[in-house]
């Protein structure tokens, strides 16, 4: 399935079906991440149940500490 993640088109395996799956697919283990799914900010409790479909637009924003 093709998704647009942070502006880039990426192909993910069909086994990736939810936002949580996308986060895991990219090996992101940052506890503070904001997800925008098709222009809507998701509640963090909704990552697991929110399904994704071909062509979805996803923005993954991680909070980091350095400076």
């Amino acid at each position: 399935m093709n998704l647009r993640v942070n502006g880039e088109v990426v192909t993910v395996p069909d086994s990736v079906r939810t936002i949580k799956g996308v986060i895991d697919h990219f090996n992101i283990n940052n506890p503070v991440i904001i997800v925008e799914h098709n222009d809507t900010i998701l509640d963090k409790n909704a990552h697991e149940k929110t399904q994704i479909f071909e062509g979805d637009k996803i923005e993954l924003v991680q909070f980091v500490g350095g400076g």
Binding site: G7, V32, E36, I41, F63, V64, G65
Partner: protein
């Protein structure tokens, strides 16, 4: 008069009017690392009225790759960053008032530093201090610009009290773990890019061009060629204890503060005594000289022992280099410094 600012005033959205406004403004810059030196240089060159720089650390060789105000002699002499930055900035623009504090700033000190400040710029390296900045910003109604970076990634967001969500709304809690400069390193363009976003927003706010403000949270990865701008206004929470209807400013409470911390990008731990008191570096140097190598400058004392280096500042704050283990650091601190 010279034409120092002519190219900036030619830029129509700023103009002579914006330049006059900028000259009357006071920025509090927290941190003088990569983000701090970049922001400071841009704002000082641009002609901000006053800038107060607060930093707890001193210059090391590993800083020179990206911290643009520092030179080799600063690292050799271990000059505190706030002092080294001020020196260079005064050479850049003597018209700007520059105040430097060697300080691991706590909420009480913030309450005096915030006086007459128009904007706070975050150039820190941890979320403990950012949550304090966030509460101070809300309590005193002063906007602040969050910025951070690691590896090739960076993020920035401008927080305006009573308008935008605050950092507490966005993060809910202070994060534990995650990527740091220790694990992922940092390349200078990532820091510079965050500086660019922060300085552009700062210029808009300081020249009072509020309509031009970027309202979205921006993040990017320069190595993966990714960029993202998202609208986070829906994350503003009416019951937020920092910016909501009944704020309690929880991060200004003493109990919520970290007294010791592992420093980002450094094999080091900082110990901050609960009570600040001026230490007599001369006497301490004499006591320690029989046990290890002691070096001194007017601001700090460096003591090398057991393959570790302890750096003691006048206010009692100590950096323990050569360990990331807080309890080991505390042991060393108490063994040699009481």
């Amino acid at each position: 008069m010279n034409d120092r600012y002519s190219r900036q005033t030619l830029f129509a959205p700023i103009g002579e009017k914006g330049q006059r406004r900028l000259k009357k403004k006071h920025v509090l810059l927290v941190g003088a690392g990569a983000l701090g030196t970049g922001n400071a240089e841009s704002l000082v060159r641009g002609g901000v009225g006053k800038i107060t720089i607060v930093d707890r650390d001193y210059v090391e060789w590993s800083n020179l790759q990206r911290q643009q105000l520092f030179v080799e002699s600063d690292a050799i002499e271990r000059i505190p960053k706030a002092i080294a930055a001020k020196k260079r900035l005064q050479q850049v623009n003597s018209e700007v008032e520059i105040e430097a504090h060697i300080l691991d700033v706590d909420p009480q000190e913030f309450e005096s530093l915030i006086e007459n400040v128009d904007l706070i710029i975050d150039a820190t390296d941890n979320f403990d201090i950012r949550m304090i900045i966030n509460d101070i910003s809300q309590k005193y109604g002063v906007p602040w610009i969050y910025g951070s970076c690691v590896g090739s990634y960076g993020i920035s967001f401008t927080i305006i009290p009573n308008q935008t969500p605050c950092l507490h709304c966005l993060m809910e809690t202070v994060p534990i773990g995650g990527l740091t400069c220790d694990t992922a390193g940092i390349i200078s363009p990532a820091a510079n890019m965050v500086v660019v976003y922060q300085t552009a927003e700062a210029l808009k706010i300081l020249t009072e061009d509020w309509g031009a403000r970027r309202e979205k949270l921006v993040s990017f990865d320069l190595w993966k060629n990714e960029e993202s701008k998202i609208n986070v206004s829906s994350l503003r929470k009416a019951d937020c204890t920092s910016c909501g209807v009944h704020p309690t400013y929880p991060f200004l409470d003493y109990e919520n503060q970290t007294k010791s911390a592992v420093l980002c990008g450094r094999d080091s731990v900082q110990i901050r005594p609960a009570k600040k008191e001026k230490r007599d570096l001369e006497t301490i140097a004499q006591t320690l000289s029989s046990m290890g190598k002691v070096e001194q400058n007017p601001f700090l004392l460096s003591f090398t022992v057991e393959k570790k280096r302890l750096v003691l500042f006048q206010d009692g704050r100590t950096l323990i280099h050569g360990t990331k283990n807080i309890s080991e650091a505390k042991t060393l601190y108490h063994r040699y410094l009481g």
